[in-house]
């Protein structure tokens, strides 16, 4: 937070020498200069494209059982015509799964599920964390103390363990897994927002606004919170990466998404005992998880360097 304030203060000097650059444009330029951030952006763009047009890209319905339609065997190896698979055999580039379904179509549709999980969990956590952190930082005193100690207790648990425990209370299923991860991730956003609120609330422009008669609500949401957006975006993007990873792990253990939903973790979990006979059923869902998580990690790192000029300067030294 302090960082983007610094940026604001430096800005007039820059504008004197060059054509006026907005903070956003400066951040944008720093962002695009980094190769890794760009790669993350490209991968994510591709994934979003795949998620939107999943039904058009996938050759089959993800839940369609193909046993009566084609001549296939259970957990059949991938068959790619370009790589010498006989032309008279139907093409299944990622093979067939344990229920005679096309693995490629399932992996493609899994993109939708994973991105949905990432955005909704972190979205929920950001909303909850922002409210909690804003109230805590703005109110101060004992309210702040109680809320933050509660957050400390949540943070004292390894997050994955707490998520498992919450799901046990709520019951299995994708929806409950989403809630569990959102709860576990809330404290870190609450902390980020609280820190921003604390650092801004005594600044002159806030006092000025208060002197002009702005109420608590207006002060908090119009004057103070916009300053917390930069760190929230960074924490959020990196949070999506871990949320997707944890949600997939929960599904792998059978606590999250339930079959027949084509969720990567569930697909991996269902076929994990077949890893020796049908490794393709483990390989493809796993590598898809990895690529998706990698995209958000690269993007998050890039955004951090771009939005935090302090770090960016340090790195270019």
């Amino acid at each position: 937070m302090a960082a983007s304030m610094e940026g604001l203060e430096i800005q007039p000097e820059i504008s004197n020498n060059y054509k006026s650059d907005s903070l956003l444009r400066l951040a944008g330029r720093r962002f695009f200069r980094q190769r890794s951030a760009l790669i993350g952006m490209i991968i994510l763009g591709t994934l979003i494209f795949v998620a939107i047009f999943a039904s058009q890209i996938a050759p089959y319905d993800p839940n369609q059982v193909l046993i009566d339609i084609e001549d296939i065997t259970q957990r059949q190896d991938p068959c790619i015509h370009l790589l010498g698979c006989p032309k008279d055999q139907a093409q299944h580039i990622m093979g067939i799964d344990g229920n005679f379904r096309d693995e490629f179509s399932r992996v493609i549709h899994g993109t939708r599920v994973s991105l949905f999980i990432g955005f909704t969990t972190v979205g929920l956590a950001i909303v909850a964390g922002t409210l909690i952190g804003a109230v805590s930082g703005y109110a101060g005193g004992w309210v702040d103390n109680i809320i933050m100690r509660l957050m400390d207790v949540i943070l004292a648990f390894p997050s994955f363990l707490l998520a498992i425990a919450i799901i046990t209370v709520l019951g299995r299923g994708l929806q409950n897994a989403l809630y569990a991860i959102a709860i576990v991730y809330t404290p870190q956003f609450a902390r980020v927002v609280r820190a921003s609120v604390l650092s801004v609330k005594e600044k002159e422009f806030v006092s000025a606004s208060r002197a002009l008669g702005a109420g608590s609500f207006r002060l908090l949401f119009i004057r103070i919170l916009p300053n917390a957006i930069a760190p929230l975006i960074v924490t959020g993007t990196l949070g999506i990466a871990s949320a997707i990873l944890e949600a997939a792990a929960l599904s792998f253990l059978g606590l999250g998404a339930q079959p027949p939903l084509s969720e990567w973790g569930t697909m991996l979990g269902t076929d994990r005992n077949q890893v020796f006979s049908a490794p393709h059923l483990v390989f493809y869902p796993g590598i898809s998880i990895m690529i998706t998580v990698l995209a958000f990690n690269l993007l998050g790192d890039g955004l951090r360097d771009a939005l935090d000029p302090r770090l960016a300067n340090k790195a270019s030294k």
């Binding site: 425990a165 046990t168 253990l253 690529i291």
Partner: protein, 359 residues
């Protein structure tokens, strides 16, 4: 110093208390009757009442909480519902499995992560740096269980009949047994002997036990079985440690005293390892402490894949089986361990950097 340590421990007490209350609440909110788990789905109402009375489940919830807190402070975690042994005994069986696995994984990640990070900081933007950082980015993004399964596929199946073959499950090959050191040495110890649980705990660390009794067959077998899970578990911490080491080193290497050290003609190796690394160590230690949480999450998954019966797997089984005392006891131990490790990390700052005044 001692004052600081004592104060830190006191500060941790409210958090520990919170953890106990949370584990209690979670264990009690799990839907389903524990009585059916213990006595079977068709247990009669009378049998269930008697069971609830015996386990104290008929008391008001606040009384239950107070009893629970009092017992925990005395080291009594109650008896497991599903196999009616004391939770404490089960803990001494399971913790060594996870501890051994986690420790070996942590050692792997440190001895590879730190040098990799140092090297990429020193040779910034070189091929080494780029390879390490690409590797680290992939490492943090990899699902542990997927890597575990892939490693098992490669080392247990593809490399079968080669010297590189590694077993994909369990702690020892069937037929090989680890004899506790106190039995090898002929100590007359029974389960009632004072300190038995400590000795039993140590003997359950197979690698340590086989080293002190010099049982090479068990030692090699245990190491072979531990390699795959430990490698799988170490990737994420390794990647994170390498990244932090790199950025921390880059920061320190840009400082004036490093220029001075170079100017006075010190060999680059001394500058990097003695002057720079020593000062770059603080964030590295912090992140290593935080990795205990990651390691634990990973342990649940790695233990599942490699059929190891450790803490992670037990908590998972207890949750599916609604075994309250086990869930409470194990979760508590893990969370307390996590808090303690981070406490130790905080205290270690003072040893690493004498400038930090512990007030």
């Amino acid at each position: 110093m001692i004052q600081y340590i004592i104060r830190r421990i006191f500060l941790a007490i409210p958090v520990l208390f919170g953890i106990m209350v949370v584990t209690f609440i979670i264990a009690r909110s799990i839907p389903g009757e524990p009585c059916f788990v213990a006595l079977g789905e068709r247990a009669t109402v009378e049998a269930c009442d008697a069971f609830n009375k015996r386990m104290g489940l008929d008391q008001p919830i606040l009384t239950q909480l107070m009893i629970y807190l009092k017992n925990v402070v005395r080291g009594d975690f109650g008896d497991s519902i599903s196999d009616s042994r004391p939770v404490f005994t089960i803990l001494t069986e399971k913790i060594p499995v996870t501890f051994e696995l986690g420790l070996v994984a942590l050692i792997f990640s440190i001895i590879i992560g730190i040098p990799a990070g140092v090297l990429s900081a020193v040779r910034r933007n070189s091929a080494v740096d780029i390879t390490t950082m690409v590797g680290a980015n992939i490492g943090v993004s990899m699902p542990v269980y997927w890597l575990g399964l892939m490693l098992a596929y490669v080392f247990a199946l593809l490399l079968k009949d080669t010297p590189f073959w590694l077993p994909p499950s369990h702690r020892l090959t069937a037929g090989i047994f680890s004899t506790p050191f106190f039995e090898t040495w002929g100590w007359s110890i029974t389960e009632d002997t004072f300190g038995y649980s400590v000795l039993f705990f140590i003997s359950n660390l197979y690698i340590l036990n086989s080293i002190i009794t010099w049982d090479l067959e068990v030692l090699f077998d245990a190491i072979k079985h531990l390699l795959l899970p430990a490698i799988a578990l170490s990737t994420i911490p390794m990647a994170i440690i390498a990244r932090i080491t790199r950025s921390s080193m880059l920061e320190v290497l840009g400082l004036d005293y490093i220029r001075t050290a170079r100017a006075k003609g010190l060999v680059e190796r001394v500058v990097v390892l003695k002057h720079a690394l020593a000062n770059a160590f603080l964030p590295i230690v912090t992140i290593i402490g935080l990795q205990t949480g990651t390691l634990f999450a990973g342990a649940v998954l790695t233990e599942t894949i490699f059929s190891l019966s450790g803490v992670g797997r037990s908590i998972f089984d207890a949750i599916t089986g609604r075994d309250y005392p086990i869930i409470q006891g194990f979760t508590l131990v893990v969370a307390v361990g996590y808090v303690l490790v981070n406490l130790i990390v905080d205290i270690s700052y003072a040893f690493i950097d004498p400038r930090i005044k512990l007030e």
